[in-house]
């Protein structure tokens, strides 16, 4: 519970441009009730600041923050995604409650400093134990589920815990090694655990979603039931799709369809559904997918680090609210850097500028949508805009930061997104509470 606030910054983003003398009224619950021309003294005046909606990080695996600085040596030549995954599994096996909590708090605090006020935590590392010795597979203790929620509350970030179902190591193959910490072997028990978590949420900052890990890790019939269950419960549903070529080949071999093709054929596709990566998805299937109102989450820094390849963002953006971003492996946490490289890597590929642009041709405004309201849409949350009815999820950037010197109200947004980083952010507000 906070008190009512009226916030007035030097500039406030109104969805189209930065405006002076605008006040944001926030109720005691942390919701924006009104955005209007200034009248009277604000309770919080942010001099020399420009107010933007907080960024939405639609896809994170917080614990992977623990890999930073590791796995960047290739004594035998070049590596790839699969060699990286081995390093990640080694981390997975090493974690206990204390170290898991520490990594998650670190990641969430760094997200806040980087401008992300909301995270969609795609959570598959459920167990603090292996569940059984190597010969026999049982589910573990689900202890890390609550650890993640506690860490988010401690850091102060809004979280949508995207509870992940993970049953097979590859299509038709049992879990092995570190994967046994992810085990969810029975869908009914999985939904019971979801209900237990629902009862423990901080109601103002925590929500749940469903996350069948991938077609590789979830058998067909469980996947169908999970998407149906998401629709029935009004939850969002996220799934990794077509990040790696090998994953596509194995799915085609097993089902005759690529993962995205399979989804389009077998589950209800619409605004509740978000696919993550879609790096190797064909334009035709992407077009059909986004036409339903469904979402795609792209993770530029992680995809660059892992060498995944370049997804067809131009086609995804045939619906301008279809593309959001995620920090995924959390090797680097910075919202402006994610957004500019979402655009830059595609400029390099096509040798043209302006791949992500809104209907007026503006790149920065389109990138801002990808970083804010599009992510809010994918998580089903009223954030990502500074307007009545939304949670007060705000960041205040220092108009006088060295990186922004020379910018005016018209050029501040592109100067920030192309030329600065989270280090220009001075204050951060989550649900009415000022974290920094």
């Amino acid at each position: 519970m906070t008190t009512q606030q009226t916030i007035e910054a030097e500039y406030t983003w109104d969805g189209e441009s930065f405006r002076a003398q605008l006040q944001v009224h926030v109720d005691g619950q942390g919701r924006i009730t009104r955005v209007a021309d200034a009248e009277g003294a604000p309770t919080r005046r942010l001099a020399r600041r420009a107010l933007l909606p907080g960024f939405v990080n639609a896809h994170s695996h917080a614990f992977q923050r623990g890999l930073r600085g590791l796995g960047e040596s290739y004594p035998l030549g070049q590596g790839d995604f699969w060699s990286w995954r081995e390093a990640m599994y080694a981390l997975v096996l090493s974690l206990d409650r204390t170290s898991m909590k520490r990594l998650c708090v670190q990641a969430f605090q760094e997200m806040l400093a980087a401008g992300f006020t909301t995270v969609g935590e795609f959570h598959y590392l459920h167990h603090s134990n292996l569940g059984a010795d190597a010969g026999e597979l049982r589910e573990g203790d689900f202890a890390f589920d609550e650890v993640v929620l506690e860490a988010a509350a401690e850091a102060g970030i809004r979280i949508s815990l995207l509870q992940s179902f993970y049953k097979t190591g590859a299509i038709g193959r049992p879990l092995a090694g570190g994967q046994r910490r992810f085990a969810t072997l029975d869908l009914d028990r999985f939904l019971q655990q979801l209900d237990r978590l629902a009862a423990k949420l901080h109601v103002r900052t925590q929500t749940l979603g469903l996350a069948p890990h991938s077609l590789r890790a979830v058998p067909d019939e469980d996947l169908r039931r999970l998407v149906d269950e998401a629709v029935r419960r009004g939850l969002v549903c996220h799934i990794h799709v077509e990040e790696q070529r090998r994953e596509i080949e194995e799915c085609v071999a097993a089902t005759g369809k690529t993962p995205l093709e399979w989804l389009l054929a077998h589950v209800p596709v619409g605004p509740h559904l978000t696919i993550v990566h879609a790096t190797h998805s064909t334009p035709e299937r992407l077009r059909r997918f986004v036409e339903t109102g469904a979402n795609v989450c792209v993770c530029p820094i992680t995809e660059g680090n892992l060498g995944d390849g370049l997804g067809d963002v131009a086609t995804m953006l045939t619906r301008p609210d279809a593309v959001c971003i995620g920090s995924d492996s959390n090797i680097r946490l910075d919202a402006p850097e994610e957004l500019r490289w979402l655009e830059f890597v595609r400029r390099l590929r096509h040798e043209r500028r302006g791949v992500c642009r809104d209907s007026a041709g503006d790149v920065a405004r389109q990138l801002l949508l990808c970083g804010t309201s599009n992510g809010a849409r994918a998580l089903g949350l009223p954030v990502g805009r500074i307007e009545a009815g939304c949670w007060a999820a705000l960041i205040a950037i220092d108009v006088y930061a060295p990186e922004l010197r020379g910018a005016n109200a018209d050029t501040l947004l592109p100067a920030f997104l192309f030329g600065a980083s989270g280090s220009a952010i001075r204050e951060v507000c989550v649900g009415g509470r000022w974290i920094r």
Copy 2:
């Protein structure tokens, strides 16, 4: 003149790894005289800091800092390099001594904050006036040459002023519009101006180099004389090469050779020579070029922003000290970001990790060389290493910065280069003088 110093940080980079209890001895001129195991109290103790050589920014056009936040709207569809150049020329025509100085100081200060202690300023915007009315072309006043040197001194950065020769607007075509501010029409007068500048340098932090702008802007016979003159005077020589496909086509049409092919055939190529970009250069020519000991400067952020394309860095690195980096347009100034994306954009292209790696397979160490000693080599300056004989060009990073939390001596370098930014840099030393 500073006093003698002994510097001891918690960790100091010795060229191979971070070591504790190492002291860096610096003389009153700002040169490192000795790096040795700690003995006695240092004059400057940097607790909780790791000392690295300052980064070398081998290619900058400082005034283009004034374009930040501009030119990112494409109402008529996608843009390219050439539409960006029009915006740049508009800025060029608007500058006077005061605004030129302000932009250069801003850029140089931001470079220092971003970890660059040395800049190679590829300087072609010479004149504060147009030289003549539109009908007649005369050289202007060369007033901006000294403005750049003054700005560097004021900011405190080490500069190699790469004085640029710029005579034609395209092969065989006169200068037009904003280009007239770049005009150097007579090589003898150009060299006289170089001599005048030599007499005005701050001897401890300023040097000169030669920079024929490109094959597009410099007639063949002037170009040959300029490279010969660089060799005769012992100066480095930098030139833009094969950034854009159109530039290559026009050169082939006029000379029968691509720009790089022409250089290999007609001028002495060796360690004195650095080509900038080489985005569309063929592997065979790149291999021949670097085999001579010559250098290539790649500008990852600017090339990403302009949508130039992806140069073949893997081939350039067949000689590991051949590749350095530059911030070029200065749209974003951050050394770690330049370096990680030098690697990441190529991972995305090849779907493999570890394009830039040293002989042991280590990526971070190879990237550090590209960002430090390789740039020093291209500028012919004794910087970029923490060792006796080099200028004390140092940065101190905060080992306890949130982005680096969890790193140890072994993982600190990759954690910094992949996961942090200039905001983790707390102190900066240029030639013995502490700027921050």
